[in-house]
Symmetry: C2
Subunit: 165 residues, 2 copies
């Protein structure tokens, strides 16, 4: 018996549009929807309250976690955006005086991007407000659901891991 059941079997290649496949597609579309809505809200708040943009904030956040600074390549990997992209964002942060490019000893190709004192101060203040915004936008998210969400999403991240976490 059990001959026609597929439990334990690997997924069938030609089995397009199974129920499971459709459920996963719905899940993905829902992730996309929430992601876009929250990102839009945060972008607007950033602009109105802080007169800055989300990508710039993200760069500052990454640098705040690594006080010794990061290379451009480390930044782009951490933020999951392209190399060339980070160049422009860091350029703007430099002109704003929030970060600096420090040459690397013994490697004249690379440079390390670091928060200035002003950048550190600015970010520290803004991070608190930002966390408040997020908490407000997610105020329907119970502790249990938050944990479940994080667990499920981590599973997905880990599976699609290109280099490492």
């Amino acid at each position: 018996m059990n001959m026609n059941k597929t439990e334990g079997l690997p997924e069938q290649a030609g089995n397009e549009t199974s129920d499971l496949s459709k459920a996963r597609l719905r899940a993905w579309l829902q992730i996309l929807k929430v992601s876009r809505k929250i990102e839009g809200e945060l972008r607007e708040k950033m602009r109105l309250e802080f007169n800055t943009t989300l990508p710039r904030f993200d760069v500052l956040a990454a640098l705040y976690r690594e006080r010794d600074g990061m290379r451009m390549s480390a930044l782009s990997k951490s933020l999951m955006v392209s190399n060339g992209n980070v160049t422009g964002i860091v350029d703007r942060l430099v002109t704003e005086g929030l970060v600096v490019r420090v040459p690397v000893e013994n490697d004249r190709r690379a440079s390390i991007v670091q928060l200035t004192e002003a950048g550190e101060k600015d970010f520290a203040e803004r991070a608190l407000v930002h966390e408040g915004w997020v908490s407000e936008l997610f105020s329907d998210l119970s502790p249990g659901d938050a944990d479940a969400l994080i667990r499920i999403l981590r599973n997905i991240s880990h599976h699609n891991e290109a280099p490492h976490d």
Copy 2:
């Protein structure tokens, strides 16, 4: 004992960076991470396999669900992007022959965007492959977790509802 625990207490207004607030922030960052990674994978596949882009595919998908066509404003609301944005994407789809702009009876301001036969055919084929990609990227997502994910994310969507779902 148990005197210092805060379980059951309502959220404190001035209590920035409470545990719950931090959990929600982590949840948001995880959503962002998954969203970016999956979007990047899909973008690359779209480019290599279909020689198209994600935004164009999204517009075709919306139009495929509404065979009678949609107004520009309905499109931008549905995709949660700005009005001006849709203009450029539809322009490109028009030159590719996948959609057409049909004037609206009694309202010369508006136009209705509709799939052409070629657009319909193209999308129908690609949608199946796309669903397969998503299912593969989410292959670690069990049916139970998919349902939980959708439920939790819907809660969040509903809370942040500007006009309607």
